[in-house]
Point group: C2
Chain length 160, copies 2
């Protein structure tokens, strides 16, 4: 084992295993209890948070790749959870844009799932102090921002 690489203290490893563990468990529960996938929940939670997001924007907030998202939206539209809108001919509107809204049913389903989602968060954070929770969330935000600052060009230069 390499002296300077300790998997058990390697951030991407720690991030991946806690993330997938929560995701996998919640995913099973969503399917069994509500018949939806985790990705559908992510879309619903994101649109619930901010209604009328563009498809590209939504791809960013959900971390779902845009072509996957476009087809996912078609499925969700067919199931009556969301609707696509071409922002009508307002002055200066960009007619290429498509915005996404929750339907009434989609909104109700989201509200119904939220308590379960919060229970999972509570279980994950069990035993942590308010202060620790705040610190953790703050630091996760920092990681995200730090990675955002790394563009593709810079990333390619890393492998030397």
């Amino acid at each position: 084992m390499s002296r300077d690489f300790d998997l058990k203290r390697y951030l991407p490893y720690l991030l991946n295993r806690s993330g997938t563990r929560i995701a996998d468990s919640f995913s099973v529960n969503l399917r069994n209890s509500y018949g939806i996938t985790l990705q559908m929940w992510r879309v619903m939670a994101a649109v619930h948070h901010q209604d009328g997001q563009r498809v590209g924007e939504l791809s960013g907030t959900t971390s779902i790749e845009i072509s996957t998202l476009s087809r996912l939206l078609t499925t969700m539209e067919a199931r009556g959870l969301v609707e696509r809108r071409r922002p009508s001919r307002q002055p200066g509107a960009d007619a290429r844009v498509v915005t996404i809204n929750l339907t009434k049913d989609g909104h109700s389903l989201t509200e119904a799932i939220i308590p379960l989602a919060l229970q999972y968060e509570e279980i994950a954070l069990d035993g942590l102090s308010e202060q620790e929770v705040a610190t953790l969330k703050h630091l996760l935000d920092r990681l995200f921002e730090n990675m955002a600052a790394l563009d593709e060009e810079d990333a390619q230069k890393l492998a030397s």
Copy 2:
């Protein structure tokens, strides 16, 4: 927007977006520079950390589903990165078990990638104090342990 559900402060969301951002960027770099996938790297890093793990064990340490892993190992074996072993007829050995080792090439490739992996970690953690890094890693460990304590039976009872 529901009063008690703030996506921007929702742990699974924060975890997922920082995790996928690091993973996506590293993944592109691994493919372009070394011709391997992120999942292959995860296997290599896990076996590098502890040689001779069983397939089931390795599924746990890599968070890769076991049937996916089994086929991935076949691919990696064909590329000369790892080898499968039936622990030979030692007294009391379980002949059903298959253990995984890095080949010499697999080991060299892993060692070659480690500096890049550490650079990604450094970028993600940029600007954080030693203390903050230690806290973050500790808390991510806690999350993982908390989720491990939740078995499937308990999980099903959550949706009420």
